[in-house]
């Protein structure tokens, strides 16, 4: 366990191949985000009614809820249709909105044509270490957000093992 504490946080990587052109896949992922995003995945206070990714650099990523509220979860950092979208994942370790962009992790989604009408979508969720108040504090343990940082380290190592095993 001690060896793991010094480990650099690995990104989570997932890929899926879909029967669609990069343009179609990109549009469904972003503009039609609401049509596929699992309803269980949000940080609002009441059930989610709609999910939105605003299609431009600086665009908001948020969900709308039954009580009329909105819950932001990200900001578009790079918008390059139909090739790439990069989103700051503004959810802190305690599952609250992260107001400080510097402490947001990042989700990059790339769309690569494999053959005519087939696209590979590669998702990388990275920079988890930003979610804590810094690697130094993480190592000293007791200070600030260290606890969660350590958990993320353990988690990232495990995810990496699993994805390696599950790689098809």
């Amino acid at each position: 366990m001690t060896a793991m504490t010094e480990r650099v946080l690995d990104a989570v990587r997932k890929s899926v191949t879909v029967n669609a052109s990069p343009e179609e896949a990109f549009t469904i992922f972003t503009e039609d985000f609401d049509s596929w995003w699992p309803r269980s995945h949000h940080i609002g206070k009441t059930p989610m009614t709609r999910g939105i990714i605003e299609g431009r650099r600086g665009g908001r990523c948020y969900t709308e809820h039954e009580d009329g509220s909105e819950a932001d979860w990200g900001t578009v950092l790079a918008w390059d249709p139909p090739r790439l979208v990069l989103i700051a994942w503004r959810i802190a370790a305690n599952w609250q909105f992260e107001p400080d962009l510097e402490k947001a992790s990042e989700v990059e989604v790339r769309f690569t044509p494999v053959e005519d009408g087939v696209t590979r979508v590669d998702l990388e969720h990275r920079n988890f270490e930003r979610m804590s108040s810094g690697a130094a504090e993480m190592r000293t343990g007791v200070g600030g957000e260290g606890g969660w940082g350590s958990i993320l380290q353990l988690f990232a190592a495990r995810v990496e093992d699993r994805t390696r095993r599950a790689a098809q």
Partner: protein
């Protein structure tokens, strides 16, 4: 399972509890020692430990007259699985949506 996870995430929502977990990562500790290490009262520490124990994040055992707490490694495996599943589930839903749309040709 999801109840456990929710409870774990709630338990992790408190900075003192996260700090206690970080401390326990360095090794098991009795309540008294933890109370001395943190600027909160012993009853408060006990309360935090109870929440962590209910969330299955820590376990306790008797050591003479002391109660010693340690991290429960099993719990962290389940949290990691939660995050791993997160993108897995989302991308499968995305794929289904793309292919459903193709079939319907809306």
């Amino acid at each position: 399972m999801s109840t456990y996870r929710e409870r774990q995430l709630d338990a992790l929502g408190d900075p003192t509890r996260r700090a206690i977990l970080a401390r326990l990562r360095r090794g098991p500790a009795p309540v008294g020692k933890l109370a001395r290490d943190f600027p909160v009262s012993r009853p408060a520490i006990s309360q935090h430990l109870r929440v962590l124990k209910e969330a299955n994040l820590v376990t306790d055992r008797a050591d003479g007259t002391k109660r010693v707490y340690e991290l429960n490694p099993e719990a962290f495996a389940s949290l990691r699985e939660y995050f791993d599943e997160f993108w897995g589930v989302a991308l499968i839903a995305f794929k289904k949506r793309v292919e459903h749309r193709n079939r319907e040709e809306r």
